[in-house]
Amino acid sequence: MIDYFACARFQMALPRGVAGDPDGGVIFAAGIPSHTLSRRKIDKTCPHLKRRLFDPQLYLAGLDASICPGACTNLISYRWFSGNGNNQYESKKHTQLEWKAAIRKRIVNLWPGAIPTEPGSVDAAISDAIALQNALECEAIILPAPLTTEPTQDYGESLEWIDRGLRIARDSAPGFDRLVTIALSDSCLRGSNPKANTMLDLVVDQITAREPEGAYVVVEQASEEGYYITHSNTVGALLQLVKGLRDGGIRRIHVSLAGTTGFLTLGAGATDWSAGWYRSTRRLRLVDFEEHEGRAVPTYYSHPLAGELHLERDLDAVVASGLFSEIEDRTPAAQGLLRAVAQGKPVAAVPNWQHRIGNVTAARAHFKSAMIRETHRVRDLPDSARATHMKSWLSNAVDLAARVREIGPLNARSANRHQPAWLKAFEEFLAAT
């Protein structure tokens, strides 16, 4: 199984124009209140979520409600965050909007800001998370676990959650694959060479010795701001983690919220991955949950480049340099843009690709189409050819990125600097294995 899962928050439908079908979807707790989710007719309205996972996102327990009131309001609607079940939505008492407004007003006082620690509360939280996933008819159960943020932090807390989760799921959801959450901050990963990172060994040893059917891996991007992980140690650690889990007999490894690094991990043994186009579904960065003004602008994803280009000036500059034919990524959603480029027109001449706040439908559809296409391409390769495929993809991307850099300084949102680090990490990973 090599699958790409789309990411679903409040908005679950795919953007218009996606070519091909994602193999499933992951629904994120922070994106939608519990009562709204349970009322959704998912199968009817979102066929791509027929195969679905639900991420309870316990690793967000440390969010600061005073600066992330929206996400915390959604999260507290789930019992593993609210604890006693008070303040749950009740349709007889209020509308969903009224509930949201009332809770949001008091969220700073209501939000626990920490995970439960009493054994009884931990068990209750896990049981609630499992029960909801059962009710949602998820294809597997993601067992919640907290975020590990320090390399010196005792992983015991996560193991406690994992052990309890495995036991409770075995009894309450027999027959379902249990995916244990491994939520690590990049601050645990970027400081040391993956081969010498004892935390990775610890995590791999401990998880594989418990023999869960699967693992659900998320890496918090605490140390960098971009949409692409740029540190080779972080990328290498993720590859090593996936490989270790695979070597240890874990059947299903889903890498989520790691951007297109998730795709790269398919070359290390991951079975499925998920990442959306918006930053809230692309990466796990806690500051993304803070409420800022501003909305997204479109970018053009290029799989050959293993990155994307800002559209205000950068794509036009690439076209002018003559490099675009090597960078172009053909999807139905990008057809209009490619046609315009071929006719010598600027991006601004293509309405659904113009650099304009909120004008992102085509960019999103294009990104997802490319990810579906590339994931299925990897799926069609024999196991033994996947690593070579990834290496050759990255080698080409490094070359292209270097030539793009020669054009001159580009917008920070244009991703053309991480490629050498990815290739280095992947080559070192291959050499070590």
Partner: protein, 277 residues
């Protein structure tokens, strides 16, 4: 153990008055004193025979309630039954003690001294001990001292893993054991000897691999030298010819340098039961 002259039954009896009746000394010295004693059963009705082991503070770590609770939960015929553990003061020295069921039988060390063990019995020992390791891991305890001296072959022919003296709950091992290697040289997994991180059942599986080689060959594969196990165990086919390929592969996998490549206890049991048939 810092007692010179050695501890006597009488002075140990004084320490445990009201708890255990000390009957005889089973083993004095280096790895702690072991006495056979009788003590109260769980139901408190008839006394039971226990092995009471006394260590100095640097030979065993303090047990938490969590660990004692986990040890008490153990219910497996292939592992010695835990009775009690705690701290005591012997001859003015702070000590720790652990009381476990007294298991009648012959130690595997003694059996190996007589002659190498025949393949079918080794397979049986492997299954029994993997069952014990699995039971320990079920409550997240790593034995950390799997070796022939800690295996008793009971009259029925089954093997029982004894001596929970340095067995450790995984929630505590990360905190308390980093930097000091607890275990017996020559049997420790590379990660146990390095003492850099908390262990799993896979560490006990490594020790079991060494024990199986020793049982088959009749001598320790590295003469007890731990540093020769730094990169994993000795290849089984180098020690002995004409073993079933399946058994060689299993023992070699158990002795892999990397814990992730070692089989889980469940896998050892499954594979070897197939071989036993």
């Amino acid at each position: 153990m810092p007692f010179d002259p050695p501890l006597s039954i009488d002075e140990v009896q004084k320490v445990f008055t009201g708890t255990f009746t000390i009957l005889e000394m089973l083993a004095p010295g280096g790895q702690g004193y072991v006495f056979r004693a009788s003590g109260p059963s769980e139901s408190g009705k008839s006394p039971v025979s226990v092995a009471l082991k006394i260590y100095s503070e640097d030979q065993a770590e303090e047990r938490s309630l969590r660990e004692v609770t986990a040890l008490k939960q153990l219910r497996c015929e292939r592992i010695v039954r835990f009775h009690a553990a705690g701290s005591c003061r012997v001859r003015g020295t702070n000590c720790r003690y652990i009381a476990t069921e007294f298991v009648e039988g012959e130690s595997l060390t003694r059996a190996i001294l007589k002659s190498p063990i025949a393949i079918p019995y080794v397979v049986r020992i492997a299954i029994d001990l993997a069952t014990a390791i699995a039971a320990l891991w079920e409550v997240r305890i790593v034995h950390r001292d799997v070796k022939p001296a800690n295996v008793i072959r009971v009259p029925s022919g089954a093997s029982v893993l004894i001596d929970l003296g340095i067995a450790r709950h995984q929630s505590l091992s990360a905190i308390t054991t980093i930097g000091k290697a607890w275990g017996t040289p020559g049997y420790m997994s590379p990660e146990q000897a390095e003492a850099k991180r908390s262990l799993t059942c896979k560490s006990d599986i490594f020790s079991l691999g060494v024990l199986l080689q020793e049982s088959l060959v009749g001598r320790h594969p590295t003469n007890g030298q731990q540093h020769l196990l730094k990169d994993g165990g000795v290849r089984t086919e180098r020690l002995l010819k004409n073993l079933p390929a399946q058994l060689i592969a299993m023992i070699n996998a158990m002795l892999n340098r990397s814990a992730v490549f070692r089989p889980t206890p469940a896998k050892v049991i499954k594979e070897l039961e197939r071989l036993a048939q």
